[in-house]
Amino acid sequence: MSAAKVAIVGAAETTELGRIPQTSQIQLHADAALNALADAGLTIKDIDGVATAGESPTAVAHYLGIAPNWVDGTAVGGCSFMLHVRHAVAAIESGLCKCVLITHGESGRSNVGRAGWASAPGSLAGQFESPFGGMGPTTMFTLPVLRFLKDTGTTLEQLASVAVMQRQWAALNPRATLKELTSVEAVLADRMIAYPFTKSQCCLVTDGGGALILVAAERAGDFPQAPVYILGSGESTETPMISQMQDLTRSRAFQMAGARAFETAGIQHSDVDHLMIYDAFAHLPLYGLEDLGFCGRGEAGAFIASGQTAPGGILPLNTNGGGLSYMHSGMYGMYALQESVRQVRGTAAAKVAGVEISVCHGVGGMFGASGTVVMSASKAR
């Protein structure tokens, strides 16, 4: 038995997604924030807590004209927003602030007012990884997968099926960047980026943003939208260097964040109606399904390839189309959270019937960090 103390009462993405060269990164934060405020029926003066990543919460609060009682600048990559949700729950519960705004904005494609990502040459990654020709996530995040395939008996075709199944969801979503159905053969035949990953198995590069508003659960009924309660959450980190993972076939951060989220929410896997697993690349849903305990070792590939996560399957996964087909600005976690909110509210484009519990699982860096949030349509269960 678990009773939620905090709920999401406002949630929105930027007005546009995709290619937005006319908008700077900080304005993407603001656009998403203003949309979320409108969704909640609030104004900027109601916000007294700000959390963000990619920009400093100082910059976001100042730009929006907020004088916060609480800020969180936790920046551990694309799952930062899952951690912000968790931290906002604690802050509201303990009375540090009353109404938290979490923002994301990223000019990932157009690079308008966006800082760079390169490792400092004196950092450990700069010394012990950069000399060997890595070119960011396409070559680093993907590096463990051949070991995963060998050790788990997963096939290249099953890996490719991740992109195929998610496209089936994207086809139902008017805001998705890629909507045309595809096949395992087409995915495997697509342009090679970093073997064994073809272009179809790598995330999109787009612009966009999103924002969430959280308040105490006891106030959550006072807003125009159906509340989405935060039932539980978890977070963890492992390593900033892909070469230093404890085990290339498992994410320790996934396992720790996921287990804690299930425990604090008081739920079992069979309670989960809808699942988001941050998919910067096609292997992440495989790791996620196994590390979160939805599938046994080596079973995730067959589970996805057999259609269990596709429309009509028993575990709807990445129902916005995911980072592979919906959008991916660089820190995709915010969009995964938005889709979980929409599914719990019953407002998603590819609506899954009767979603009571949604689990939203994020990754930060390249298996560097993780955050998991359990959302519910009911305050207690």
Partner: protein, 140 residues
């Protein structure tokens, strides 16, 4: 594989990693071992990441390794002729490190997981020598 060493990103040693890089110049793959719990670890730091003990020793690794995983990058890079592999190897001592694999075709057919490797040092520039790996039996 062909590497333009002039274009390779140069690591900048810190006081905690200097022994590793001077080891490469001396033709030694230097690791560290805890004086208390005997854990062998990498990358360098002046305390044991397994137990926190500050008394640690520098040891010379055997240079033997196996191919743990890799990707073959097809996008252009200023230092490498694409496609080229970026690998993670596991040393005989149990630690892992990133590397390129020299003296072998950069193809899935030639790069077989778990194949035995040995360290191959290459001087790049400015007194920096990098540890690469090559299949056991390949010539350098």
């Amino acid at each position: 594989m062909k590497i333009d060493f002039e274009q390779v990103t140069v690591p900048v040693p810190t006081p905690e990693t200097e022994h590793f890089w001077s080891g490469c110049v001396a033709g030694e793959l230097r690791l560290q071992q805890c004086d208390d719990c005997s854990d062998v670890y990498f990358p360098p730091r002046p305390f044991c990441p397994a137990c926190g003990h500050r008394a640690v020793s520098i040891i010379r690794g055997s240079g033997k390794a196996r191919l743990l995983s890799y990707v073959i990058n097809h996008r252009p890079h200023p230092a490498f002729d694409s496609p080229y592999a970026i690998a993670v190897v596991e040393l005989e001592e149990g630690v892992t490190m990133m590397a390129n694999i020299l003296n072998v075709s950069q193809t899935p057919e030639a790069l077989i997981l778990d194949m035995p490797l040995k360290v191959a040092f290459r001087s790049i520039r400015r007194g920096i020598v990098l540890p690469y790996f090559e299949p056991v039996g390949a010539g350098s």
